[in-house]
C-alpha cells in the first residue's frame, strides 16, 4: 500500500523535491504540494483504492504525509494489515 501511495503522490503531488528523498513522515506541503495538488491527490487515491474521502477527512492533516494518507485509507477501508 505504501509504495502505491508514494507512486500516486509522486504523480499528482507536484512536489518540488524528489519523492525518493522523502520519508513516510515528511510533510508533503513543505515539500511543495499545493492545496490544488492535494485535491488531485485525493481524487487519484479514491480511484486507486476504490473509496471516497468523506467531509470529515477533508482537512490538511489527512494528506500531509505518506503515513497520514496510509492511516486514513486503512481506516476508511478497514484494512490495517498492510503497512508496507
Amino acid at each position: 500500500m505504501t509504495e502505491q501511495i508514494r507512486k500516486i503522490v509522486a504523480e499528482y503531488g507536484r512536489l518540488s523535491v524528489d519523492m525518493a528523498r522523502l520519508s513516510d513522515d515528511d510533510d508533503l506541503y513543505r515539500a511543495g504540494m499545493s492545496s490544488h495538488a492535494s485535491v488531485n491527490l485525493m481524487l487519484a487515491l479514491e480511484d486507486a483504492f476504490d473509496l471516497e474521502f468523506p467531509e470529515r477527512y477533508l482537512r490538511r492533516g489527512t494528506f500531509e504525509s505518506i503515513s497520514a494518507i496510509r492511516e486514513a485509507i486503512q481506516t476508511l477501508t478497514g484494512d490495517v494489515s498492510q503497512t508496507s
Binding site: R14, S35, H36, A37, V39, N40, M42, L43, E46, E55, R56, L58, R59, R60, G61
Partner: protein, 144 residues
C-alpha cells in the same frame, strides 16, 4: 516632555477589530489538467453549481475562471485560518454579481468558522493572465 509624547493616538488606541488578508496563486494549466483527468468528479468536489454555471458558460475561458475561483477559495481559507478541520471547498462560494464584481459567500463549516472568530469577509478580487490566476480576499476579524 514633548519629546516623549506619542505622535498620534494610533499607538495607544485599542484594537477593536483587525484586518485579515489572504492571497493565492493558482496555475490555469493545473486546473485544466484536473478537468481533463477527473472531469465531473473534480468539478463537483470543488465548485458549487452556481460557480460551474458561470465558468462553463465560456468554454474558451473555463480553466481561467475555475483557477481564479480556486485561488479565491484558498485565499479565503487563509483568512479563516483553520486549525484542524478544513471546510469543504464548496462551502466557500465565489458568486458573480450582475454588476460584474464578485463576492464570497460562506456556508456550512466555513460560515461557522467565520462566525466563531467574528470574521466578516469584506471583499474579493480575482485576476488571471496567461498561465496564472490570482485572488486577494479582505476580511475583518473580531480580534487576532
Amino acid at each position: 516632555m514633548e519629546g516623549t509624547k506619542a505622535p498620534l493616538d494610533i499607538v495607544a488606541a485599542p484594537k477593536a477589530r483587525a484586518w485579515r488578508v489572504g492571497t493565492d496563486l493558482c496555475s490555469v494549466e493545473a486546473v485544466a489538467e484536473s478537468v481533463d483527468r477527473f472531469g465531473q468528479r473534480y468539478l463537483r468536489r470543488v465548485y458549487t453549481e452556481d460557480e460551474l454555471q458561470y465558468c462553463l458558460d465560456a468554454p474558451g475561458r473555463t480553466a481561467e475562471r475555475l483557477a481564479a475561483r480556486f485561488a479565491a477559495k484558498e485565499a479565503t481559507i487563509k483568512v479563516l485560518r483553520p486549525r484542524d478541520n478544513w471546510p469543504d471547498w464548496r462551502m466557500i462560494e465565489i458568486r458573480k454579481d450582475p454588476g460584474g464584481w464578485c463576492q464570497v459567500v460562506l456556508t456550512g463549516t466555513a460560515a461557522q468558522m467565520a462566525a466563531d472568530a467574528g470574521i466578516v469577509v469584506v471583499d474579493v478580487s480575482m485576476s488571471h493572465d496567461g498561465a496564472m490566476a490570482s485572488a486577494v480576499v479582505l476580511a475583518h476579524a473580531a480580534s487576532d
